[in-house]
C-alpha cells in the first residue's frame, strides 16, 4: 500500500467492453428513470405553486403541463415511475437477502419492463 502505482494500472473491463445485457441495462435504466423524473417533479411543484398563487398564474402553468410537451413528459415520467418502483422493489429484495442468481435476475428485469408498461397503461385507463 505504501507506494503503489496509482496512475498507470490496467483497468477492469467496463461499459465500452461488455456487450449490453439484461442485468446491466435493467439496472442502468433504474438510475436513468430515477434521475429523469426530476423534470416532471419540478413541473408539478411549479404547477402547485401557481395553483396556490393566482388563477392567472395557474392558467400559465396548467397550460404548459397540459400542452403536448407537458403531456409527453408526464406520460413518460409515469412509465419511469413504475419502472423505477419495480426496480426499487428488486433492490429491496436483493438488499434484504434475496437471490443474486443471474437467470433469476434476468427474469426480474423482464418483469420490470413488462410490468412497468402494463402498470402505465392501467394507470392511464384509471385516471
Amino acid at each position: 500500500m505504501a507506494d503503489v502505482n496509482r496512475g498507470n494500472r490496467p483497468l477492469s473491463p467496463h461499459l465500452t467492453i461488455y456487450r449490453p445485457q439484461m442485468t446491466s441495462m435493467s439496472s442502468i435504466f433504474v438510475r436513468i428513470t430515477g434521475n429523469a423524473m426530476l423534470v416532471a417533479a419540478l413541473m408539478i411543484v411549479w404547477w402547485l405553486l401557481a395553483a396556490s398563487s393566482s388563477p392567472e398564474y395557474f392558467a400559465i402553468a396548467d397550460g404548459f403541463l397540459r400542452s403536448w410537451f407537458g403531456d409527453l413528459v408526464l406520460f413518460l415520467s409515469l412509465w419511469a415511475l413504475w419502472y423505477h418502483t419495480l426496480g426499487g422493489l428488486r433492490h429491496l429484495y436483493w438488499d434484504n437477502g434475496g437471490s443474486y442468481d443471474v437467470a433469476f435476475a434476468e427474469k426480474l428485469g423482464m418483469g420490470m419492463i413488462v410490468g412497468s408498461v402494463v402498470l402505465t397503461i392501467l394507470t392511464v385507463l384509471v385516471i
Partner: protein, 123 residues
Amino acid sequence: MAFVTDRKRAVGLGSAKDGTHHYWSMQVSSWALLILCPLFVLTFGSTLGGTYEEVTATFARPFPALIAALTIWVGFMHFKGGAQVLIEDYTHGATRAALIIGNIFLSYAAAATGVFAIARMAF
C-alpha cells in the same frame, strides 16, 4: 519516494464511524414511496385537468394535501440521495463537491416550495 509506513499514513485519520446512514435512508424512503407514489399518482392524476377552483378545492382537503406534501418531501429527499450517488460515480474533485452541494440545495428548495404551495391551498 516517500519513506512513510502504511500505519503512519493511517494513524490520526480516524475511522468513518458511520457507513450505513445513506443506505438506511434510501431503504426507509423507498418503502415510504412505495405507499405514497401510487396514492399520489391517483390523486394528482385525477386532479390534473380540472379548473382552478377544482384544483384548489382538492388540495384544501386533508387527504390529497397530505399525500401530495409527503410524496414531494420524501420524494425529493430520496432524489437527493440517489442523485448524489450518480454524481459520486461519474465526477471528481471540485466539480463533484459543487454538484453535490447544488443537488442538496435544489432538493430542499423544490421540496420546500411544493410543501409551501400545498399548505397555502390547504389553509
